[in-house]
Symmetry: C2
Subunit: 279 residues, 2 copies
């Protein structure tokens, strides 16, 4: 369905806009934000946010629009889950349900009818980018932070034909082995742990899934979630073992916040611009 | 009193920090945030925020730290009023009392004991910059947004010896003639309108107050407050009539938000760096 604009703000020679539409996949209203530079748009990067975020965080805090404008790229930031529902346990914690979709299509009762975020991103958002926003075919890349870094990498490995390049800040890299992932996958996918592996970046790479482009990751070494939740080195090792290109940059002193993202966002946008403009 | 750090985040080769201290001027706890680049700090810019803001808004939304880091400058962002009090009408509206100090020393009952924001900025913050943060003497400039743009310009005209340069985004420029200013000045200063002129940028310039450096202003033409509240052209005219240097840049399509500030913050930091590094 065509999205309606709620708010527009001029910024860096383009416009930040907040949108709402009736989603066919989630069967709810969904919100997202965009930055669209003036003139010809040569491609789009999809940004997937982390736990507790909405469509707003990246747009207000990442300091990214200057670089999207420079490269004539738009960015679209979907919300992190459907809203306005009242499913079992949906609003009990910040790491499951509302604000915590993990970007997969759920199969459990209740959730399977609405938490269809993989289809929402790969079909509905990708479709809208071409139909409503006139992004040229194949000129789409994807990136994200934390749970959204997991989403970006997993979606790019499961749908490599859709995304020219993929990058992540502080991604949840081996969710079948961390508390956030175990809780979310149990709630959205049930108890079949073998099936969970289809939604885990480290397991996908270990099982031969590939993206043609190397994966770019930036990770702070002061990140309080690195050791127990993110497990970035597991993905790094799997990529090296299975010849998936990866560049992982560790940064001393940096944490899990948007202060970290803002510091290194320019290099990620340059990375995607190079891939998108090379077509 | 020495400020205590509450939170530290690494960013752009420096640190964002949130602080708290017991203020001698406001007789309350006060919070502020800083960005301090690694290495030698060559000066400091004080940022004054607008109505409803706290010490956090500029730090998370302006995208300024990259440029402060580049110029080896720190920035300090005080809160917009004392907190934790319960004065008459203090919490009734967003344009008076809490979050809306207008950066002056109040003279009305109740407020005069705590709303001493001019003294807080010009004595306590300036003093702390030199004693605790080791900013070299005279290496301080000031800027702000909206109510904070008013604060920056008025404080620089009333204390030209303290600030090497001054700039503002979308400043409240003639508060004695606009609803926000009339409400605030009545509440903080009482009914003597002649006295109000001592806290109004346009009136101060018209009465011969000067800053040696030209004032830099950026203003969006899509700003919903421009015509009724900000009255930037009144200050512009007074400066031209009274030979106060001013550069006012108007921008088509831009509004009153941080999206506007972020777009032009680099030019303001360059402006202050030039003044501070020229000493």
């Amino acid at each position: 369905m065509t999205a309606q604009v709620l708010k527009t703000h001029r910024m860096f020679g383009g416009v930040v806009q907040f949108w709402e539409h009736e989603s066919l996949e989630t069967k709810t209203k969904m919100k997202f934000s965009t930055f669209i530079p003036d003139g010809v748009v040569r491609g789009c990067v999809i940004w997937l946010s982390g736990l507790t975020c909405t469509e707003e965080n990246f747009t207000t805090k990442a300091g990214a629009q200057k670089y999207f404008s420079k490269h004539q790229l738009m960015v679209i930031c979907p919300d992190t889950s459907p809203r306005g529902l009242d499913l079992p346990h949906e609003h009990e914690g910040w790491d499951f349900g509302s604000g915590a979709s993990f970007y997969l299509d759920a199969t459990t009762p209740g959730y399977k009818d609405h938490y269809r975020m993989e289809s929402y991103i790969t079909k509905e958002i990708v479709g809208m980018l071409q139909s409503q926003f006139k992004v040229p075919p194949n000129r789409i890349s994807i990136m994200g932070h934390s749970m959204g870094g997991h989403g970006a990498i997993v979606l790019s490995l499961r749908h490599p034909e859709l995304f020219q390049s993929v990058s992540a800040f502080s991604p949840v890299s081996h969710p079948t082995k961390c508390p956030w992932g175990e809780k979310a996958f149990t709630g959205y996918l049930g108890n079949d742990r073998e099936n969970w592996k289809n939604f885990d970046a480290t397991e996908l790479v270990s099982n031969g899934k590939k993206h043609l482009h190397k994966i770019l990751i930036d990770q702070g070494l002061q990140d309080e979630f690195l050791e127990k939740q993110l497990l970035v080195s597991d993905l790094d090792s799997a990529c090296h073992a299975h010849h998936q290109g990866i560049e992982t940059n560790y940064h001393k002193g940096y944490d899990h916040s948007y202060y970290f993202i803002a510091t290194f966002i320019e290099s990620h946008i340059n990375f995607h611009a190079k891939a998108l403009h090379a077509l």
